[in-house]
Symmetry: D2
């Protein structure tokens, strides 16, 4: 297999991890019951419960992050409800209205931030204000955190717990969009349980696609009940229940077994740090945010950007956080590493940038 | 790989066809642009146009038949619209309200039949009546045909053309749910074009999952335009656009290349015919419908059913067509063959049934 | 005010009852708090609780029956749910998909009947069957009864109780579409409580528009709680919360005070009976259904229909119950009386029919 | 009828204008065809065409502004679309998600402003940016202007035309939320045509409820066609088609005849100006916005507010525009006049404020 080499555009351009592909091939063995009554789906359930130390957790696999997020929100929020999220959240900006579609018209209530993290204080203030308004406003019923955030930053456990406490106090549910949860967990260096349900998360979208799977995300309900009963039907009527469900489950089994997910995230995080460290040695380069996962947001001189493009590196120019100034002759870029980004790939980029 | 052997419960219990798995593995080669800008997706487009002799056709791959059908209908029918279908149609009975969800509340207008085929005459009469009623009724805007039907029967080209003509006359769109289109095409023994757009079909859901793919269906618009512009956004907001789209496209490329789809369908159809022919030699057995694809609906003595179950064969007891009598001590069953059902599997079942 | 005279087309062609108009004019007195914080709305709440002997009932006024039904169902049924109703029900045939829209895509599960009444036995059998099917089907979560039915018949208390018992046993909610509830109640000759919550009804759509109001229907929850909390927001986001809510409430206050609703229904029922009795004295006339409210469904000779039309009477030709034969030279008609239909109006029609 | 006197809380607390009530009573005359086939509805159509010099305009009456706005947007915007509006717009803040519900999940794309008016420049820049993004974003398909705005300001004709030109250039539709259109028109002092379709408005929600009607708003399509065909069904399935439609139409006929709408708006605007002028003579009072309609947003000393409250005046404390500072010991209030606010009412408030 070729390395992804010069492509720093996204963590979704890479191939399937060998171990995940092998798990799929192992599942391709004769007949198996359809719609999730197969042994790989049972094994996934077991693995999730072990991994998250959550013996009652229920897991539902789907193929995309947009589906996972929107389905999870639809189980938490009524059509007349509202979901708090950061103004930079994926659910607000990159899902073409999927949350509105799946919830039947609920509203995303966005709060601005510089770094993609909802501030507990701003959230508290907004919730306080909205409680007085009555039926003219969508009813706030959930909070969605992106972990790691769209700016590559990571909520600390204290921050998650503070938001969890606000939610519990007011009876709101908390969803975590963990498209890059493994990358965040590698940085937090704590147990999966501590990073989620012990901090107040009710439902986790556990991403695998950006971290080596073909197309697989797990929606995990930590406290099942009515919600999970409903969820099975919601998934079916959204066309996200695979008849040959084993191939979705097998990906996630391969992902979680032998800690592949964490090993992959540690590798891509390390490459992002190597990249950021290298860039910071250069003149006129600054980072927009601390690198806490596998994304580097940097302001570079246009000349540097031109050199990288000329050398065949692939990446996106990016927008700036609200109110952020940018010096003339410079621009922001996003550089994303994947589990198969090698030190040599990073060093080649740094060399090209240095000119 | 083990044969699916004794499992006649559905064509979704089988494994991935070797050729399709190989196509996926070939696609797993280093970095590739995401969201469909990859070469496998371009190749799929090309293959569909060639296969259907439709140089302007647009194809969109998704992972499930429910998604393919519901998305296709949502592009054809406004939320205040209605879709004619047979009362036995999959979209009416087996998709948990997906068409209603994706269309934003359109109504399925069902007409009863004995064999799963909409009758052009009944359709015409109903349409005539509904034109006078005005805003109190959902506006009929589309017709959906299941080919092969849920009873394993196949619309003749004449029947499809008759419905196409009614639709054209009244300005309705025609959707074909082709979850088992390859099986129908094998029976019709005509070109894919003749079976679809030349007979008046506007949009085809081309199934692959039941015929050897892992999870892949193609929505094909024969006359693109506004509908396909919309469709790309509809697919995205439903969570059905894969970031690593190459793995969806590769399945369908493997499916269509070298006529794998037809070879597979011919094989499973032949096994169904072998099965039906064998059953008909037995006393007290009758078929509910002519076998025209890979499903056999038979009325068997309870003793025969018991022998099959005791011998480890897996299949479903089934309901009867509306108004169909059933003799005491007999019951209906459904027996489905797949592309990896072998003559030996069929003969073993026949032996067990014979007792 | 002119009598509605020769118009037997519907009970929605008549004017506002004088007492209801006076109630509206009394409410038109200077400033009043908006959105239901006015005294007329408080009085309506009180009146409903008294009238239905239901001290905890919550009432929500809206302007149309379609809104009342669809909002009520949306509070009872999740988007992936199903609602049982008779195949002739208004919610199925005359609301242009409003239930599907308001519920976010739930499915109406229709059972056929000759007279518009759901049969407890058929309902039981269908529910039994659907329990086994799982996520591929919309989940049955409510039953909706039309009282009086679309064929002018009335469920007996025993029938309502039998359905209520089935629902309670399986955890389904029961909605009553009472667009003509007053007409049914006049026939049942029992208390409003006996006809509703004591028989197992959870939510009643109490019609007033067809019985003398301008535009007013009351959605009554007999056992409030989460549902009524939600309902206020559902009504607002559907645009059915009037800012000047007093004018909606005043109509219903005028309707319920001094038993106007029952007096009006008794009058129009009596006129329907007079009409039916007169028609039955004529040769070649038969009724399709027993007259139990203010609608007469009759099969008349075409010559009789022609005489009525020539004499300026306004009414609809109607369709026949499923499987009902009709003799050549005859056709079905619907004749509807209103609270301002006079004996002289009826006798004039009978004279014209007699020729 | 009592004056609304001390109530400055909203223009929806007032009674029905005598002329409008009389129009309703005139319509209450015997039988009339239902669902809009009555002469008052025909007269409304005629009046709207004359008033707006738009011979092809189509008008649809509904009872509430939320319904009018949300239905209008649902005709303009697909479920995967986006609607630009000011961040202070009623559709964003006060309709409990009705636009999201009626459109089937479209997204409101808000741009901030100080005074409630969308800036053509900001709109242009945002549209430019969003064109590049593709299927991951809701597709911008409409712009909604509130005229007068939620801050009581009025778009100049130049501003409306500039936005109309942007929309035409990019193929977007323009909706005007005219809940207080008459108040704006009185200030603009131009023809209704000049203020709407000649400036680029495609659909107008013409408010009457806040300006003397009981419950009536008109959705006016200036260029009918497919949209109006659809709209009739959309209105029905939302439960907003009255069976006794004459009473909705009669209100609007009374509203438009003899220029009642403009005379009423001129009166309430004049009272707002009188109020603002009086307040500005007081120390420590400032207006947040120029008074251009019937709303006064003022920052008052807390002592003044307390005196007004003690004297029995009813009004709301209000929030501040984004980034607006407020001196300690002062707070913002909203004071709204209605068509039955008298000079004496205003002067009494000013006297109480002066202390």
């Amino acid at each position: 297999m070729r390395s992804i080499g010069k492509n720093f555009s996204s963590d979704n351009v890479g191939p399937i991890s060998p171990a995940i592909l092998q798990a799929m091939i192992r599942a391709n063995d004769g007949a198996a019951p359809s719609y999730g009554a197969d042994p790989w789906t049972a094994r996934l359930q077991e693995l999730v419960r072990e991994t998250f130390e959550a013996p009652d957790a229920e897991v539902f696999a789907v193929a995309t992050g947009t589906a996972a997020n929107a389905l999870a929100l639809s189980a938490l929020v009524p059509p007349f409800g509202g979901v708090y999220c950061d103004a930079a959240a994926h659910i607000e900006n990159d899902e073409c209205g999927a949350p509105e579609f799946f919830t039947g018209g609920a509203k995303l209530l966005t709060l601005p931030s510089r770094d993609g993290r909802l501030s507990p204080a701003a959230l508290s203030a907004h919730l306080e204000a909205s409680r007085a308004i009555g039926v003219h406003k969508s009813k706030p019923t959930a909070i969605s955190l992106t972990q790691a955030t769209e700016w590559g930053t990571v909520y600390s456990l204290e921050q998650v717990r503070a938001i969890g406490a606000i939610a519990r106090h007011l009876g709101l549910a908390v969803h975590m969009d963990g498209a890059r949860f493994a990358n965040a967990l590698a940085t937090l260096d704590c147990s999966p349980a501590a990073a989620t349900w012990r901090a107040g998360i009710d439902v986790l979208t556990l991403g695998a696609t950006k971290n080596g799977a073909m197309a697989a995300e797990a929606v995990i309900f930590f406290q099942p009940g009515r919600l999970t009963d409903e969820f099975a039907r919601r998934r079916k009527r959204a066309g996200h229940l695979w008849s040959k469900a084993r191939y979705l489950s097998a990906q996630l089994v391969g992902y979680l077994e032998d800690a592949l997910w964490l090993r992959s995230a540690i590798q891509s995080n390390a490459m992002a740090t190597r990249l950021a460290d290298g860039l910071l040695t250069m003149r006129d380069v600054r980072l927009l945010h601390e690198v806490q996962s596998n994304e580097v947001f940097a302001v570079l001189p246009e000349a540097t950007i031109a050199r990288l493009e000329a050398a065949g590196f692939v990446f996106y120019r990016w927008y700036l956080p609200p109110g952020e100034p940018v010096a003339p002759g410079t621009a922001a870029v996003r550089l994303v590493t994947g589990l198969d980004t090698n030190p040599a790939d990073v060093d080649a980029l740094l060399d090209a940038a240095a000119g």
